[in-house]
Symmetry: C2
DNA sequence: TTATATTTTTAGATTTATCTAAATTATATT
DNA sequence: AATATAATTTAGATAAATCTAAAAATATAA
């Protein structure tokens, strides 16, 4: 089964929301897709007729197994292309999202499989998000928010919660990227900000809000 | 200025035809694009309004300078992606065209420039066609049809005239690809076929029609 | 539990790219 | 030059993806 670019984008949007809320409703998907509720309803009918969606009028909706697999296929392509752009073409990791949004809709399955091999079958993209394999299986890694890590423990940055351009740009200024090693030195109870040491650089202070959005795992 | 996928495809089609005939007419473009003359007329109006086309009703048409530059931009992307698919992802050279037809419409200029650098700024794609640079300049190479080459002269295959799937598949069976070294041994006047030696293999015989579509240059 | 507010869907319009069929213009033939 | 033929354009229709405005269903609050 193949899908239009628009269908793929909606599938991705629904997948994203249903991971948090289970059932998704029309208005929140309209907000996610930056479109109108009426347009969402139109697409829901189309996706239901293609048997990708559990959907009863007025009752909310969610992807069924076929729909989830379709979403994971698009996510896989997106993250493989992001990896390619950063690792091979040397793009900054905070610049690749809009380009991957286009590349993810290229349809050749053989292309995806060969790209995956060419890149060395990576498990995580440059933002630390897991890359599903061709069966839709997602690698897992134990990760915690930086705000929950005990002092002096060495950890590696594995992903970022709020992947806005502002957040990514800010982390770049702190020299924090996926794979960066960190230690938490001190917490300022006044505002919850943390003093941290990034790699071999001088210590710096990040706000509680930033700390909550930086996820880390044990150094192996 | 940016273009829709459909606009880019028409621009490419017109460019292709006007290289042979100068002025292009509606029916031949309709045949090239596998569409209807009425659809061509619709698009001609659109391209004229975007100032890419010299076009008078009933009088034929051709791309102006802006239109030619737009065509060369798409051709550049197509050929760079073909090079990537063959050199990096190890696709057979006769399988990459349809995938490059999709990739050529990805819009980021920075992507194209970085891809070009990553590939080592190649001058020719895997079919031997020249890759325009970012200013639209096309590298040239002195090439002749294999049917015009004197006997015993060592030459290198540089491009293929009729790039149909059938032709590319046939050449693959003769072990002929871009870069292959050849010598013409004998011409059979009966039907114009040629006995040739391909690299270090046994001699074989190709038809006059094939010979006319294989272009070669001197071995450097 | 009735009235009010919110959410969702429907009905019908719009835009883009395509099509068919008919009309128009150009070209070829006698 | 008149007529037949071919090429091209126009007019109007269709399909996909979107929109606005109104109607219908559901949720909330007095």
């Amino acid at each position: 089964m193949s899908f239009t670019t628009s269908e793929e984008n909606y599938i991705k949007g629904i997948f994203h929301l249903q991971q948090e809320t289970g059932l998704v409703n029309t208005n929140s998907l309209a907000a996610e897709m930056q479109t109108r509720p009426a347009s969402v309803t139109d697409m829901l009918k189309k996706l239901k007729s293609k048997k990708l969606l559990q959907y009863e009028k007025y009752k909310g909706f969610k992807l069924n197994e076929a729909g989830k697999k379709a979403a994971l296929d698009v996510i896989r392509k997106h993250r493989l292309w992001e990896f390619f752009l950063v690792e091979k073409l040397k793009f900054d990791w905070d610049k690749v999202h809009p380009i991957a949004e286009e590349l993810e809709h290229i349809s050749s399955e053989e292309l995806v499989q060969r790209l995956d091999n060419f890149l060395g079958n990576p498990s995580f993209d440059p933002h630390g998000d897991p890359i599903p394999d061709k069966n839709g299986k997602i690698p897992v890694i134990k990760q915690q928010s930086l705000s929950e890590i005990p002092f002096k423990k060495n950890v590696t940055v594995s992903s970022v919660g709020n992947q806005t351009a502002q957040m990514l740009d800010m982390l770049k200024h702190y020299n924090i990227a996926i794979g960066t090693q960190l230690t938490v030195l001190k917490k300022f109870e006044f505002d919850g900000s943390l003093e941290i040491k990034v790699s071999k650089q001088n210590a710096c202070i990040i706000s509680e809000q930033v700390a909550k959005n930086v996820f880390v795992h044990d150094v192996q």
